[in-house]
Every structure is written in structure tokens, then in C-alpha cells.
Amino acid sequence: MRKLFKFLYNAWYRSAAIIIFLILWELLPRLGIVNSAFLSPPSEVIVAIKELITTGELWTHIESSLQRSLSGLITAIISGILLGLFLGWFKKFEAFIDPLLQLFRQISAFALFPVFILFLGIGEVSKSAIIFWASFWPILLNTVSGVKNVDKLLIDSARSMGASQTFIFQKVVIPAAAPGIFTGIRLGGAYCITALVAAEMIGAASGLGFYILNSQEIFQIPHMYAGIIILAFLGLGLNYILALIESRFTKWKKGLVKE
């Protein structure tokens, strides 16, 4: 009984902020405090989401958004980790190339979009490229610092047992750097969604970013908010999947850090 009460209380406490937010959101346009032409109440947004699902339009947009974001993100993960491991291991080369990398990472993916369009056209490739650029840097830099900051004592300990360089790299450096690498991947995932929307707002005919902008242009405001909410859930879902993969690979950390 007491347990049940505690569970209910916790459930309430954890969702109260969202519930209060939804109530305010519903009331503000309904009471005329905010113009309902600009802010649709959630009840109308839910109707719009339902419509999107029943007409099947939603899946077309999610599919093209996922295709773009995942192709960009996966390329960024693979190349970011490989290059990051390389740079972290060969410190001399890293010190040489680091100023250039620091400069590159400051170049906004959005600023580069015109360049990508010049080289790659306005199609899918330039959209994937912008997503790649946005998510590549946090993955690369976190991998580099993860590898560079491996506790020297652990490496010495492996060396003292006669470990080869290959063993040290595979069995000490990579697992020790894994938490840093995953931090990078999750940051990359978040940046990937941001870049996705921007990419889809320029010269796209499908995708959630396109849908949001398009709904605003044809003044279907509830649909615009529907798109925004679905996009937020897409981001949450991506983060959840990445966190799941992370906890599988770093299960030794369980109980070590409370998330």
C-alpha cells in the first residue's frame, strides 16, 4: 500500500511539470491571452497528429528525415571514431593538426550549406553532408580527448605485464576511451537533429523540417506544432537508442554513475 502510494507520488512528481505546461498551453489560446492563430492549443495539435497518422503522410516525412539524419550521423560516427582513435594515439600528429581542427569545428554547418550545394547540388547528398558536418566534430573531438586522457597508470599496468602495443590499444585504450566516445556520439545525435531541420528547410519536398515550414506557409498552424512535437519525439527516440547502445557497451559502469 505504502509502496503503491510512493509509486503514484513519484509518477505524479515526474510528470507534473509536463502536465502543468500542457494545461497552460491549452488555456492561454483558449482564454484569448495569446492569439490562437499563432498558438494552437494541444487539443488541436493532437487532432492534427492523428490526421497525419491516418493519412499516412507522417511516415513519408519521418522516412525521409530518418534517411538523411541516419546516413549523415552513421558516417560521422564511423569516420569520427576512426580518425579520433588515430589522432589520440599519434599525439605528435594530433598536436600538428589540432589548430586546423579547432578552426574547422568553428565553421557552422549552416554557413557551409551554400558550399555543399555548390559542390553537391541541392539533393540528398548535400543534406546528408550538412548533418555529417554538424555531428562529426563532437564525435571526433571527444574521441581524441578520450584516447588522450586514458589513465597512464592503466597503460603502465598493462605494459608491466608485457602487453604489446596492439593489446594496449585494443584492450586498454579503446575501453578506457569508450565513455568519452559515447558522450561524443550522443552530442552528435543531438546536433544531427538540429542540422536535419535546417537542411530540410532549404530545398526539400519532404521531411519533418520541410513539413513544419510548409505548414506555417500555408497557415496550418496546428500541423506546424504537430511537426515540431513529432520532431522532439524523434530526437528523444534517437537519444534513447544511443543511450541504450552506450549502456550495452559500458555495462561495467552500471551503478558507478547515476544518470
Partner: protein
Amino acid sequence: MTIKINALNVNKSFPVTNDLGKKEQITVLDDFNLQVREGEFLSLLGPSGCGKSTFLNILAGLTPKTSGVLTVDGEEVNGINKKHGVVFQGYALFPWRTVLENVETGLEIRGVGKKERKEIALNYINMVGLTPFANRYPHELSGGMKQRVAIARALAYDPDVLLMDEPFGALDAQTREILQTELLKIWEASKKTIVFITHSLDEAIYLSDRVAIMTSRPGKVKKIIDIPLERPRQFEIRNSEEFVKLRHQAWEILKDEVKQAQNQHNPQTIHVNKKQKKGNVRNEKAV
């Protein structure tokens, strides 16, 4: 008795940047001479920053010496010696490996098969009394348990020489005493050569056949004292008249060096845990 480890005029110096931002050469070891006999338990005792850890790292092949001769079994030390096991003060366990996998590491490096290395590792885990924890991760263990794992890991691939760098320095007094007695049991059963670094007089005398006392930096062996206490030793031996006498004798040799070390302006780069060590040396004096 045969000489296992022979150090002649070993010198170690390296450049550091001092407080004023100027580069200077620091000599950590100078004219360091020491012979360690086969199968003996030798402690290296000295004030903080005297270079005892540096000597151990050179002996382990982790850092190169600047000059001098250092041989093990008559062969010049050149890089890692696979017949050495090292136990570090900071445990140095791999946090992503379970106790069992940690202890297996050295065997894995030597290419021992999966089944065989598990069997051997479990044996050593049993020896240090951690069988129920074989599948736990290091962060689930106490400091004393972690150091037991580190000892089991160093022993598992059956090295000739065990190098221990203040292995019990970070433990509380009781755990420390228990592990000291356990280490003696393990040593008496295996008869490996042990070079044990400590800044604790009691620990050095209780464990060792001989105690080599070092000078403050640049470190060299000032005097070696024999510890003729009978073996196997029980913990109570610390209260014996003989023990107290040895302790007094060692302190007489050590005290000037401790004073000197405390007056020395130690650059930060020499020891990360310098402060902690200094604190311990002070406690020692108060006893």
C-alpha cells in the same frame, strides 16, 4: 645466495620547468647501488620524493635510466621484463574488467588459452580470498579488496620478481595490517623475490629480510639493515623488544633524510601524491 638484481651507479635525471618557468635538470637518483638476493624480501625505505618509485619503474622497465648498470639475472634491464610482476599503489585495475578478467590479463597477454587461464586466475582469486567476488567489477570492491585483486593479478602469470610500489599506502590501518600478514604468507609459500617500496618503518621491518634506507633526493642507498626477526612472523612481533630496537635503529638513519626532504623545494612534477606521502611521514615521526 645468488644475486637476482644488481644496480650499479644508477642515475636518473630529467628536465623540469621550475616555479620561475626556467628549465632545469633534476637528478632523482644518483650513484644508486643495490643488490637484491634471489628469493629475498627487500624493502626500499625513504622519505617522499627520494626516487624510490623511480627506481622501481626503471627496474620494471617502465622508464629508462639515464646512466649506470642495472641487471636482473645477469642481464641488462632493457624495457619490460616479462618475468616481473608489478603492484601499484593506485591498484591500476581495469575498471571495465571483472575481478576474474583482471586477474586473467597477464595470462591473456602470454597467449594462455581461455579455459586454462580462467582456472589459474580462479586459483589466485581463491588465494586472496575473493572467490565470491570473481564476477564483480572493481568499483564494487573496497580498497583492500582491490589491492588483493592487484596482487592476485601480478602473481597469476607466475613472475620471478614481484615489484610493489607502496601497495598498502592508500589503505586504512587495519586493512593494511591484514594485507601485510597475507602478503607474508603468500611470499613464504612462493619464495619469490620481492622488492617492496614503502615509507613506513613498521611495514618495512615487519615484512622484510633486509631494509634498504635511502637518502633524500638525489636518492641513493644510505644503509642496508638486516632484519633477523624469526619467520614466520606474527603480527604481535611488532611489540617485541627486538622489533622496537630495529625500529629505533632505522629511524636514526632515516630521520635526517626526512628532515632534509621536507626542507627541499620539491617541484610539483616529481610526485603527484607528494602531499599525501609527506603527511604519512609526519605521522610516522609522531609515533
